[in-house]
Symmetry: C2
Subunit: 139 residues, 2 copies
DNA sequence: AATCCAGATGCAAAAGCTTCTCATTTCTAT
DNA sequence: ATAGAAATGAGAAGCTTTTGCATCTGGATT
């Protein structure tokens, strides 16, 4: 994923957009909030406004470079979209997020939609639980 | 569901709470926002503040009388909790919401959580699509 | 039935996330 | 290099939801 992708999306290749894309690529935690991105920019000495971060993330989402999730709570988290669909499993204690794809579930969803008379356009499945670490007391 | 349930929840049986519970019971659309409830109250000539609606809905949620969902978009929707778990399928065009339960999916979720090392505590599956009505042009 | 007080309410203000406005700056095609 | 369209920064505004606080009320006790 590079500045080429920005251009392909019909967006000018500007410093804020390049920086934000870099941050998304390098994020150790794939799922970041706008605020997270903003903080990294500040720490890196960049003078990029929070409004720009929101604008760019939304544009990236529209362009399909990024996916936006609304897990529990109010604010959005963003992750690079590498083209492979997946669902999420979240730890309610530490906030850890894992990804998974389950063929059986995918297929059932299609069938459920048909049965309900819907043309499925999208779906999201969030499983909440307590991860192994937290269960073992490694808070 | 009656005022008894309010008392059982450890809450005083007040006029706002009774009215709000009634509205939830009678809502033709089972899934309502706080604003929806507030409007019905106003139309009914009740002088109940929006803040109270939020407070009461949150208390009802805590008491298990009501379930809160955060579908796409920012605001919460509430529905009476009649004890039977279900998932949701939503029309992205008209906002219609249907409910379903699928045994296969439920079971797979449990398995997926285990495989990922999680103790599943909860989950939610939202299927988005276009409902029959909208597909037939009945916008 | 009158009294009392913790709990509940209304209102307005505040909070938190996100978007918008607009003057200024920066790409990029020429 | 230049011009024009697009993008940005800063702060104001928007929306949903929560909070602070003075007032009110349900319901337990006289």
């Amino acid at each position: 994923m590079e500045s080429q992708d920005i251009k392909k999306a019909g967006l000018k290749v500007t410093l804020p957009r390049v920086k934000i894309l870099e941050i998304l690529e390098r994020a150790e935690n794939r799922h970041v909030t706008a605020e997270d991105v903003y903080k990294v920019l500040l720490d890196g000495g960049e003078e990029i406004g929070l409004a720009t971060v929101y604008r760019v993330l939304t544009q990236f989402e529209t362009a399909g470079l990024v996916t936006r999730h609304r897990f529990e709570g109010v604010h959005s988290v963003f992750e690079l979209d590498e083209g492979r669909h997946h669902d999420h499993i979240l730890c309610v204690r530490c906030g850890r997020v894992d990804e998974f794809v389950d063929k059986a579930v995918e297929e059932r969803q299609q069938a459920i939609a048909e049965q309900a008379g819907y043309d499925m356009t999208d779906h999201c499945l969030y499983i909440y639980g307590i991860c192994r670490n937290c269960r073992n007391g490694h808070a």
